[in-house]
């Protein structure tokens, strides 16, 4: 994978400029936190990144999670690996999952404390449980780059950290939009602050503390 670069990016919504023009380059093995108040354009920027880098193996974990409520937890996680399997295999799995996929997915669910929900429909889960399913799907996708929009917003305490650690292990390169400043500083290498659709701050995480980010809010 070559370095990922956005140059002169703009995005409009309903005739109004939401982000840009901005430039952003992402080095391989770099974990970036996108911070900024709501409405600053973080989600839009992640959307642009996904469109540009989809072909480079970007896995997306949107804020609304993009899960299929009528399918089981297993199948939603399995969807991360759809591209690795032939069509017939995917169709058979829909009716009757294969042992080897189950063996790959169950440990993930156990790690996230949702193994008992493996065969429940995602529509019946709580917000926090659904978010863990979406994280498991992103990990199962085994892409080269993770784009996650508030991946732990519905989780608290140790579980939030467990998910961030797991995502970090699976994706050395990632862009995470986060509102929890403490966690952002602890789990990423670089912080990009967005204000009014432009980059207002771009600094290595270890050189920042929580108070430095207050200017963005």
């Amino acid at each position: 994978m070559t370095a990922l670069a956005l140059t002169e990016v703009v995005a409009d919504y309903g005739g109004e400029r939401v982000i840009g023009p901005l430039d952003l380059t992402l080095a391989r093995g770099e974990r970036v936190a996108l911070v900024g108040k709501s409405g600053a354009g973080k989600s839009t920027l992640l959307g642009v990144m996904q469109q540009r880098w989809r072909h480079h193996g970007a896995a997306l974990m949107p804020q609304q999670l993009g899960l299929v409520p009528s399918l089981s937890v297993f199948h939603n996680v399995y969807m991360g690996g759809l591209a690795r399997r032939p069509t017939w295999y995917n169709l058979v799995s829909l009716a009757r999952p294969f042992r080897r996929d189950l063996d790959a997915i169950l440990p993930l669910l156990e790690r996230f404390d949702i193994a008992d929900k493996c065969w429940s429909a995602v529509g019946e889960l709580s917000g926090g449980q659904s978010q863990r399913v979406a994280a498991a799907r992103a990990i199962h996708q085994r892409g080269d780059l993770l784009l996650a929009d508030e991946p732990i917003s519905a989780l608290d305490g140790p579980l939030a950290e467990r998910v961030l650690v797991a995502l970090g292990e699976a994706y050395p390169t990632s862009v995470l939009a986060m509102h929890d400043v403490e966690l952002a500083l602890r789990f990423t290498d670089r912080v990009v602050g967005i204000a009014d659709g432009r980059i207002a701050l771009d600094e290595a995480s270890h050189r920042l503390n929580a108070r430095d980010l207050l200017v963005l809010y």
Partner: protein, 495 residues
């Protein structure tokens, strides 16, 4: 209240229906209608199930035609739904579903004869058009985001199966189950044009005055539909679908020369066949329009308007039967509610064609049996749906009871959904009105049937196309009215 567009539109429809009543023929011409009706009820009270072979065959064939027809229709509809955004597909689907199953059967009878293919295609083709439209609407309502997050490089089929189909699956299944019930009715009615299904046996029992057998047939049919949920289990469906093609019966062999003759001779307009060219075509068409199409259209419109308003009035009377706000929620209320449901199941599961046929036997030919049959069947369907909708409403604890609750609390809140459903049924009522002509009421179906009896398929085809265009016109008008009155609707509530 009188200034609201909804009320004004409703009153306009009622006024139009009253005007239509004045010019329509509503005479009871039967010799002794009530005695006939009494004999029928006696037959229902003392059904004769002794002719087991005969009844068994009627039921098995009815089921087989329904399963094969609806199965093929659903499969074709699903494929068409995927390309439904193409204008050509949308137009074709609108056209094929605007032609009633019985008209399709009459067409296929000409070239396949009494072969099972006739009955199967007569159900499958119009159903494919309906399935395509509703499936496409259901799929469109699914959330697009799961499709955006699946990994790049996923095959089209896998992506569809896991995202749009999986999301829409519960709605697709519910709707398909509902259409299976419709398919059973369609299949039963196909017997009236010679297919070996329930209608065939019913017609012959009526002709022989065997009311006890008629009673047995009708009761079996109700039982079949009322227990649909018990035996049409998702796990059993594959077996039914596999077995059904082998239970259609032999029928008569297809004579392939009649297939080619149908296209090269039968449906070619007479003047062209005789070599008169365009000069002869115009007077031929003019004569057809003036003497058959126009009177047929006039009567069809007349009857449709009266039946539509009668359906509406009956619906407003029936929905409290299945509304918890009237039956109550406790033990006694449950019993009352179950009884109400029973009544509506009987009303809506009797095909209007079959009802009209029975009433026509009892009252003699006029528009009356047709209006009553259409109102009962459609009122039963919409009453059920409006009743269900009413159960979603929460009333305040001190809400009035009885007639005041009906007039001030519920009916005003349900009136929008009620009108939306009624306008949805409008096109269906018109399609049925046209078809009831086969029974001898002078709507378009009467002229189609007469033309076929006289072996003038060229005329029949023109009339069928006119009927289809009329249905499409009403559908467009209904959609326009729904939009103007801002009546909200969802795909899954469309029958």
């Amino acid at each position: 209240m009188w200034h609201s567009a909804t009320v004004r539109t409703s009153l306009g429809f009622v006024a139009l229906a009253i005007a239509c009543l004045l010019v329509a023929d509503f005479q009871i011409s039967a010799h002794d209608p009530w005695a006939e009706l009494g004999r029928l009820f006696l037959g229902l009270a003392q059904p004769n199930f002794s002719a087991v072979d005969y009844l068994g065959e009627a039921i098995v064939r009815t089921l087989a035609f329904a399963f094969v027809g609806v199965g093929l229709g659903a499969a074709a509809g699903l494929l068409l739904a995927l390309v439904f955004h193409h204008r050509a597909v949308r137009t074709t689907c609108a056209f094929i579903r605007a032609i009633h199953e019985l008209f399709w059967a009459l067409i296929f009878l000409q070239f396949f004869g009494l072969h099972p293919l006739t009955g199967v295609l007569a159900i499958a083709i119009p159903y494919a058009g309906i399935f395509a439209k509703v499936y496409a609407e259901i799929l469109d309502e699914s959330d697009p985001q799961p499709a955006q997050v699946i990994p790049h490089g996923t095959g089209v089929v896998s992506a569809l199966a896991y995202t749009r189909f999986s999301q829409a699956w519960p709605h697709l299944a519910t709707y398909t189950a509902y259409r299976l019930e419709c398919g059973l009715r369609s299949s039963a009615v196909l017997g009236f044009v010679g297919m070996p299904t329930l209608g065939f046996y019913l017609e012959s029992s009526f002709a022989q005055g065997q009311y006890t057998t008629v009673g047995a047939l009708l009761l079996l049919f109700y039982a079949l539909i009322a227990t649909l949920r018990l035996w049409a289990r998702p796990r059993l469906l594959p077996f039914y679908l596999l077995a059904a093609p082998f239970l259609l019966g032999e029928g008569l062999p297809i004579r392939w020369q009649s297939v080619s003759r149908f296209f090269t001779e039968d449906i070619v307009p007479e003047p062209l066949r005789q070599g008169e060219g365009l000069a002869g075509l115009m007077p031929w068409l003019g004569d057809l329009l003036a003497n058959e199409a126009l009177p047929g259209i006039w009567n069809t419109l007349l009857l449709t308007q009266i039946a539509l308003v009668a359906t509406g009035l009956l619906t407003l009377m029936l929905y409290p039967l299945v509304s918890q706000h009237f039956t109550g929620r406790h033990a006694a209320g449950r019993v009352r509610g179950a009884l109400g449901h029973g009544v509506l199941v009987i009303l809506r599961s009797t095909p209007e064609y079959l009802l009209a046929f029975i009433l026509l036997q009892l009252w003699g030919p006029s528009m009356l049996p047709a209006v009553v049959a259409l109102a009962i069947h459609n009122g039963g369907i919409i009453g059920h749906l409006v009743g269900q909708r009413s159960n979603a409403i929460t009333l305040r604890a001190d809400a009035p009871r009885g007639i005041e609750r009906y007039a001030f609390e519920l009916t005003p809140r349900l009136y929008g959904p009620f009108l939306a459903l009624l306008f949805y049924r409008w096109e269906i009522i018109m399609r049925e009105t046209a078809i009831l002509g086969i029974l001898g009421i002078a709507t378009l179906g009467f002229y189609v049937d007469s033309a076929i009896q006289e072996i003038r398929f060229d005329r029949a085809m023109v009339l069928i196309v006119i009927t289809a265009l009329l249905n499409i016109g009403v559908d467009i008008l209904a959609r326009h009215l729904r939009n103007r009155l801002r009546l909200r609707h969802t795909a899954s509530c469309e029958p």
